[in-house]
């Protein structure tokens, strides 16, 4: 049962931003993550600022520059079903379809999805952990089977979004409104690793809100995919996942990105894989070596050593599949 909070549903983005600038104010988009966090006491909200009436933040459209604009309040289900997304950016459609459950996809928004708080059970549970202002990361010596093997530092969460790795692979940019001027941030610079700041996952400041996501026009030869391995068939976060956005010309990899989910505290770009496949025709031994390379710097914890063979397997499989 939720603790109490005040509630406001502003009619304009400017009003919303003003409300959100106050200490303790929290934005309510789909609410699926907000309500869960409030229920579990992960954080408190003095004021919930509903974005429900900001219809301008909803919908998918082409921009004049050839980018695809996805309003931050577009639901995950709408993204997954959108014919343009499915045709041009299959990785994003597949990632959106792999999120949580149908009901949550119908409610949760793409903006909320990339801003969601970590799913670490210590962070979500009755533990005053480092990320909540405490002094200990319980995962380090505890039940860390679902924690990170790359990029951990003081805190060992994984970033739990499926959509963020796909967007990052596709080179997306987010547009942000805030108390000061709005800004656009490439997704590469949007997520904050624990080595920089252990109490936040994104660069958003108090009062700021993601308003839209921009996807660049697909290059000729772009192929993309998202493959997710999870512990059960639905309503489960990635044990390991890989988003591929590769430009393949004349049968060879001319460029692109490889981003891992379930690996690190942020969506994890694997430059090792990108280098290993650059210029190749993704021959079987290339895929195998690339998968090996991805795990070169992996530092498993006590209970998540399986992620190393799992990532090798899923990366090899995804690379093999995208070649076909």
């Amino acid at each position: 049962m939720l603790p109490s909070f005040s509630y406001v549903r502003p009619a304009s983005l400017d009003d919303a931003v003003q409300h959100l600038a106050a200490a303790g104010a929290r934005a309510h988009a789909g609410g699926t993550d907000l309500i869960g966090c409030l229920r579990d006491g992960v954080f408190e909200a003095a004021k919930v600022v509903s974005l429900a009436d900001l219809s301008e933040l909803r919908g998918i459209s082409d921009s004049s520059s050839g980018q695809l604009r996805i309003g931050a309040l577009t639901t995950v289900a709408e993204v997954a079903a959108d014919p343009v997304v499915r045709e041009r950016y299959p990785a994003l459609a597949q990632a959106a379809a792999a999120v949580a459950s149908p009901q949550l996809r119908n409610q949760g928004t793409i903006g909320g999805n990339i801003c969601q708080r970590p799913r670490c059970w210590y962070f979500r549970g009755e533990f005053h952990c480092l990320r909540k202002g405490g002094t200990t990361c319980y995962a380090l010596a505890g039940e860390n089977q679902y924690h990170c093997i790359l990029g951990g530092s003081r805190c060992y969460i994984v970033h739990s979004s499926d959509i963020a790795p796909a967007l990052l692979a596709l080179g997306a940019t987010v547009r942000i409104a805030g108390p000061r001027d709005g800004r656009a941030v490439p997704l590469d610079e949007f997520f904050v690793p624990p080595s920089s700041d252990v109490e936040r996952e994104t660069v958003l400041e108090q009062g700021e809100v993601v308003t839209e996501i921009l996807l660049p026009r697909p290059e000729v030869g772009l192929r993309s995919s998202y493959r997710k391995v999870r512990g059960r068939g639905a309503w489960d976060f990635a044990l390991a996942g890989v988003a591929l956005a590769l430009v393949i010309t004349d049968g060879r990899v001319a460029g692109g990105r490889v981003v891992l989910s379930g690996a690190a505290p942020i969506p994890w770009r694997s430059r090792e894989v990108e280098e290993a496949i650059q210029g190749t025709a993704l021959e079987p031994d290339v895929c195998r070596r690339a998968a090996e390379a991805a795990m070169r710097d992996a530092q498993p914890l006590k209970r998540n050593g399986y992620k190393v063979p799992l990532f090798r397997g899923v990366i090899e499989e995804a690379l093999t599949a995208i070649r076909a």
Binding site: M1, L2, P3, S4, F5, S6, Y7, V8, R9, P10, A11, S12, D15, Q18, H19, H28, G31, T32, I35, G36, R39, G41, E44, A46, K47, V48, S50, A52, D53, A77, A100, S101, P102, Q103, L104, N106, Q107, E126, F127, H128, C129, K132, G134, G233, A234, W235
Partner: protein, 216 residues
């Protein structure tokens, strides 16, 4: 030796100062008004900048099963709480109150959502359909009838949510494949394990709806 589990005791750390005054609540608890729906479910949002205080009950108008219900609600009240405890629509069940089981599934804007993860104030102005809303008078609706025929439940507690999930699939896609059905009900747990019969029921419901033509 005492282990350091500081922070483990959620209850110990909470202050008690955030709780609102609500002494008159018991007198309005069942005072929800029900009037026939008039026209469309137009939104009645609070004006921009009008803040409902945490301690306040605010008027909420919900459009449920074609009828308009006005009631007083706290901002934190979930739609499932309001449906079940304030309006007596207990066909919608409560299994987890955290968006993980689907027993509270209702249609909002014709798509299945978890009523427990939806604030009642956020549902204002949108058409809501609960399992009671699938009835045609005293007759079962086609999806309900299909669940009956296929014995697509055991204890029956997840069943209204399963039915609403199946109804949501069929409203979007009148002839779903087996895989589409499985995906569509994958947000609804059934601890009795009747999924195989639920798959049959959803497809039988599609048949029944077709047989009934547009009426269903």
């Amino acid at each position: 030796m005492s282990k350091d589990v500081s922070g483990a005791g959620d209850c110990e750390q909470r202050d008690s100062g955030r709780v609102s005054r609500r002494g008159f609540l018991s007198s309005v608890g069942t005072g929800a008004l029900t009037v026939a729906a008039v026209g469309s479910a137009a939104a009645e949002a609070a004006p921009s900048g009008t803040v409902v205080q945490a301690s306040e009950l605010t008027k909420v108008a919900l459009h449920i099963n074609g009828r308009r219900h006005e009631l007083l609600a706290e901002p934190r009240w979930s739609l499932s709480f309001v449906l079940r405890e304030e309006l007596g629509l207990t066909g919608t069940k409560s299994g987890c109150d955290r968006g993980e089981c689907g027993a509270c599934t209702v249609l909002i804007d014709d798509v299945p959502r978890y009523a427990c993860m939806t604030l009642a104030v956020e549902a204002e102005g949108k058409p809501i359909v609960t399992v009671e809303g699938l009835m045609r008078g005293e007759e079962l609706g086609p999806t309900q009838q299909a669940f009956l025929e296929e014995d697509a439940f055991q204890c029956g507690y997840c069943t209204p949510g399963q039915i609403m999930a199946a109804e949501g699939i069929l409203r979007a896609n009148p002839d779903p494949s087996l895989d589409e059905v499985r995906l569509g009900v994958s947000g609804n747990l059934c601890r009795c394990g009747t999924y195989a019969h639920i798959f049959k029921a959803a497809r039988r419901a599609a048949e029944l709806k077709r047989e009934m033509g547009g009426a269903a």
